[in-house]
Amino acid sequence: MNGTQVVEGARRAPARARVRSHDDERRRPWTFWVLATVFVAYVLALYGPMLCIYVLSLQDIRGGLVFPMKGLSLHWFVDLFTQVRTGDVKGGFERSITLALVVTVLTVVGSFLAGLGFRARFRGDGIVFYVMVGSLVAPGLVLGIGIGLLFQYLGIEPHWYTSALGAHLSWTLPFGVLVMFAVLSRFDSAWEEAARDLGASHWQTIRWVVIPVLAPGLVAVALFGFTLSYDEFARTLQTSGSLNTLPLEIWSMTLNVTSPSLYALGTVTTIASFVIIGASLGVIAWLQRRRARRLPAN
């Protein structure tokens, strides 16, 4: 008797739950509106200022640094790349891109190897990990000054491709390794064992199993490395030597350029960033399509 009642109760419960969830769709709780308002305010605060810059960069020759808009043209973009007084934008851009690419390659290789290394426990692994995280936590400006001082003390001329490269790696490498930890946590070491069981050498296992399986994660590490280096400012300030990277160039322009070409520069660098992110997503999509290509066309 009792047993039957329990069974019926259990059968009724989901039905009741379904009715309640149906109500939810019609009348949202007040908390929904509070959170929605906070979210909209957040998005406006995030993108509003940037949108102002993009809009103001499209003024004509009469344009100033504040609203209202005066005319509509690409004048300041032309000005940006033709006027010498605005600064060495082209050179800064080339240096930043080159530096970011080198940093990306070193970060991907370093993080991949470190990630594999940290899977097995070794003597002093805790210390290595904390030293690594330390350089992530240390204030960038102080770290940059330190590197600058060290180079001066050793009598080596700082350059964007030596001291600044090291400064960037002190930022991107620990970051990359932490990302690799997350990526590797989903990697099943049974795959490596299976490869070994089938006769693969260490190198064949790395090349045909480990790297292809981790490829999307490695692209993510590359993306992190590139963007962190490309817009790095604090660590670069005292380490780039006589030639500026792009962020330093922009910063110095804010001190002496008072025309909307500053805004034009903001627009151009934003577009460059989006192109890079788009290219990375394209690579990931291409990797996935390459996998899917083997599937039947149904």
């Binding site: 795959w191 064992e193 069981d197 089938l198 006769g199 292809p212 490829a215 083997r294």
Partner: protein
Amino acid sequence: MAIEKGDIELAGVYKRFGDFTAVDGVNLRIPDGAYCCFLGPSGCGKTTILRMIAGHEDPTGGEILIGGQNVVGLPPVARRTAMMFQSYALFPHLSVRDNVAFALRVRGMSRADRYRVADAMLERVRITELANRLPGQLSGGQQQRVALARAAITEPKVLLLDEPLSALDEQLRIQMRTELRRMQRDLGITFVHVTHTQLEAIALADVVVVMEKGKIRQAARARDVYARPRDRYVAEFLGGQNVFRCRVESVNGRSVVVSGVDMSGIEVPVEAPGRIASGQNVDLAIRRDDIRLHRTPPSQGADWNSIGARIQAIEYQGAFVKVIMENVGDTEFVVYVPEREFFEEPFEVGESVVASWHAERALLLA
């Protein structure tokens, strides 16, 4: 040099991880072409033995011989073994065909050649139509076939299977069990299969190896392990037996008389009575399906034994009815009554009955 036969011999094999002894001096011989199941609870060392045979773990001591040759220190391919991993470990980025062809790619075979061999193997395990799929798009049963094909393509002499059915649901497990046995006959090689499910082991194996805490408790044919367990541990792990603690009262010729809680004057035949002395404590095993239940004391011959019991619970199992008695001392007492027989005159919970068995059916455990 090349290993041609798949007979396996473990000689004094042990394995320690730090202070923990996973495998504690194991001696075993598995004949070529046999289906061998290692059975035991998790942590009993069965998987470690499998991994040592496979070459993914080195023994701390002892020898492992395959085809008469000591293989300790050799890589898996040189041992002519192949392993099927617990969750199959199929390469997620490779199609089924590329997964199966992986071992051939490693050996530098051309794409056309290895695809031809792989396709033949896919046909053998009946998954030709899945050749272009990725592992993530397969069901559990299909994944198992791919794993089997991938392992078998190296033409191993020994196939090692680590809990191959545990990832499948009940119905598929029984289906794939039959499939494994078919493949083993088909390939004609030695299969070593690790499981913690007794039904799986006795359904599949020529040799069942029951393990506990790194030691082999019994290694015998499936029927012997089930019907003639060597000790209490094996009897309880395989199930289907009632195991009572008793004391030997007297030893006479081919049998001994024992008594225990709620029972006395129970006669049990023994093969070597010389090794048993009066006053000794022994375990008495009686199969659950060898016991008959009666409402009134039956008038049976002298070679029948009986004890009184009260029914505590009744479970319908389909082919038979499981009648659970009140514990005898501290041990479970269960009787399996054939379904038709039970329903001729069904017993009720709480009823007092007499349980009897033929003396020849009782078994004295080591």
